[in-house]
Symmetry: C2
Subunit: 498 residues, 2 copies
Amino acid sequence: MTVLPNFLMKRAALTPDRIALEMEDRRMTFLELYSNSLTLSGKLVELGVKRGDRISIFMPNSIELVELLFALKNIGAITVLHNLRLTSKELSYQVEDAASQFILVDDEREPGLKKSKEFLGTQKVVPFSKLLRLKGSEWTLVEEFSLDEIDTIMYTSGTTGFPKGVKQSYGNHFWSATGSALNMGLHEEDCWLLSVPIFHISGLSILMRSVIYGMRVIIHRRFEAEAVHKDLMERQVSIVSVVTTMLSGLLEQLGSRSYPPSFRCMLVGGGPVPRSILEECMRKSIPVYQTYGMTETCSQIVTLSPDFSMSKIGSAGKPLFPCQLKIMLDGAEAEPKETGEIIVKGPNVTAGYYNREESTYEAIKDGWLYTGDLGFVDEDGFLFVVDRRSDLIISGGENVYPAEIEAILVSHPSIKDAGVTGIPDDRWGQVPVAFVVTDRKEELLEESFLSFVRERLAGYKVPKQLYVVECLPRNASNKLMRRELVKMVPGLEGNDEN
Amino acid sequence: MTVLPNFLMKRAALTPDRIALEMEDRRMTFLELYSNSLTLSGKLVELGVKRGDRISIFMPNSIELVELLFALKNIGAITVLHNLRLTSKELSYQVEDAASQFILVDDEREPGLKKSKEFLGTQKVVPFSKLLRLKGSEWTLVEEFSLDEIDTIMYTSGTTGFPKGVKQSYGNHFWSATGSALNMGLHEEDCWLLSVPIFHISGLSILMRSVIYGMRVIIHRRFEAEAVHKDLMERQVSIVSVVTTMLSGLLEQLGSRSYPPSFRCMLVGGGPVPRSILEECMRKSIPVYQTYGMTETCSQIVTLSPDFSMSKIGSAGKPLFPCQLKIMLDGAEAEPKETGEIIVKGPNVTAGYYNREESTYEAIKDGWLYTGDLGFVDEDGFLFVVDRRSDLIISGGENVYPAEIEAILVSHPSIKDAGVTGIPDDRWGQVPVAFVVTDRKEELLEESFLSFVRERLAGYKVPKQLYVVECLPRNASNKLMRRELVKMVPGLEGNDEN
């Protein structure tokens, strides 16, 4: 069993005085970050956190959140990161599923959460300020991380409609960081701008790279094009992670200017980038690295290497050095250019879903993760993602799972059947729309129906339109054919230019 | 069990057209190197090489050697690398110990080897040209390397005088490369000059980094200061691995000039660097990275990070990111500044010695390798190597083990007892000298005695002086006190300026 030294402890020993984090006017060295994390660890232990406990986090991007994440690792607790946009009902489901001992929440969100039906009167919800006020107990530092040990859990939904917790081990994170460095290089003066959510793997993986590489990270609470643009121009940023909508916003800010020479990588994940945007980036000499990855692969697994950024435009690239990829078609490996299911393997790939043996068994066979996404590999070995898993909607970089929305819709007494799919949207890339079968159409216009949905689904999952139809398109085995849904409403089939 | 894709197969898929190797006027891309290795794999299989076989290599640095190394990995054979300076008797011992199926040897060395007593008439010795003439059989490519699998074996001696084969796994090599990159960074245009022997881990590890990083390597057959200097000045080299004697030679060549800006790292291993040389490098702005490592750690394990190259002159630095270090004194961890035995741990550290359970058990406890070297850690955590293992002599970067020489000396009928130690030498750093007890002093001057020694010991191990003494200094438990030896001969105690 391979062990490595506690990442932040080691980093603070190697390069104590290098800047680790910046946020607005604050800056913090690795030694300061480590020292703060140690203080917090004592407070967490006083609260009752023990090695192996699952601790839920429901907080926005901040330096305090980063300190908290490393404080939990110091104790050997498992961090469960939740999407801040979840409703209290959704959050409650995930917290129960992970059997989290506590939910650490920022002070702003705490009153709302405590007032909700699900968390009324519970002692589990701990506002961050309460944690800070504790004096701290004696505790023992975890000085070594076993690569097989679970570090973090993040939830994704899937075809079943029930969110599942993806186990991310210390090894998964380390190998992900290594694979990225072997592809993009590692410069002493690198600085990564983090404006994606830390509760997503795209954000969390930047923090892991920070301690593993010894790299400065500039944190933004959220993505705001103007503020991010300003930092790209002024703060010696070399890499930024974005999704397509963010890239569009940045291009608008940039206008006819160029980024400073220190900027060397625009890492674009979370769904396909339209060709028109890629071409605009080429014209402006912006080094775009298209990537393909997911929570289960702990960030990027396929990335377009700089050697080919121009000649293979539109491709997600090749699997990173430690990783492998195959296209499966009817149970066999597809020929080049044949579209099939993308399957991937590598030491950055999750060992499975928390407490879900069956889902794990279905998704991972012989070390290969069946992504459900469709794609092909060209004659030179480059991956082209044709479509994320047939049922997946990507809206502003967030994964939206139709099955999850459908399950909520049909749980309402007025709805007999429901199908959800994505339609193109200028701002968000895609938005979900629903097709429902009902005898009581008028009830769907009532406020009570809307609040029923909003209570159960985060805002970005709420269908932007509800179309009443006679019946849903199903195949012979009664499986919903979601791709057929848009054809039921004239004029709805948009032309996605991608 | 973690697996990675076959390193060179993967590298050739990622960056086929990048230059992998240069030697004199030849240059070769990763795709060409891979393709040549595939051809050689077929020939090796025709020769009779199978998965898991040990294959001995007795060849000088060359592009063909590199192709051969990767060809053996393609088949899943284990490569045993032998020091070219071994006598046929020494080589024979190692080949027997590893139970190698074949000994691949360059055409220049083959006739001599075949004529030696030990290899007379054996079918095991295969000249490289004979291998090349084979047509090649059908065979199956090993597409995945398990990190636990043995890739290479290299011999070191030790206190017992019997050379032992250090098992180096694919994981050891990969982690070593990763640890180095996390410390020194990884630039797309990096180029490492290889003029140390490939049969040493210092040379082999450069080739592993080449495929893992996708990095150009310039190979020299041997170190010649003028030729290496010329390449450093003219061929965009960024890193070179040297030992102290090589560094002195390069400084002489450099004179009052400086290296081009592309040069970013002089990696100095294989023993302590005198302060005067370090200061000369400082004056000439040569970025010296002092390192500490050994065959058992698959190259560097402790390296002085660039952040501290000036303020901690003389230190070997801190253990690389994946690695840990402790100083042990009387069975407990020493305090800062207390000298004790250096012990190290990390995924780059060998699992043990080939077919030597007892030696493995003695050297590695709980994952910690007991190096036998002496050192201390200062109050900031920097390692200062006080002395390589008390009995180790480092001569021109080669490890020389007194016990091995003593065993040969006492096996001669004229010698009753023998003790060997190193004395300072201007050219080689140290050279071995012997102290012997004999009743037949005159016989030691005869040619037959000299040829007895030269047949059994590589030239760099042959004692430069033989001092006849009455008896050897031994402690109460009859253990030879090698440090006392030099005191027996007036005027012999040199002042090592280090």
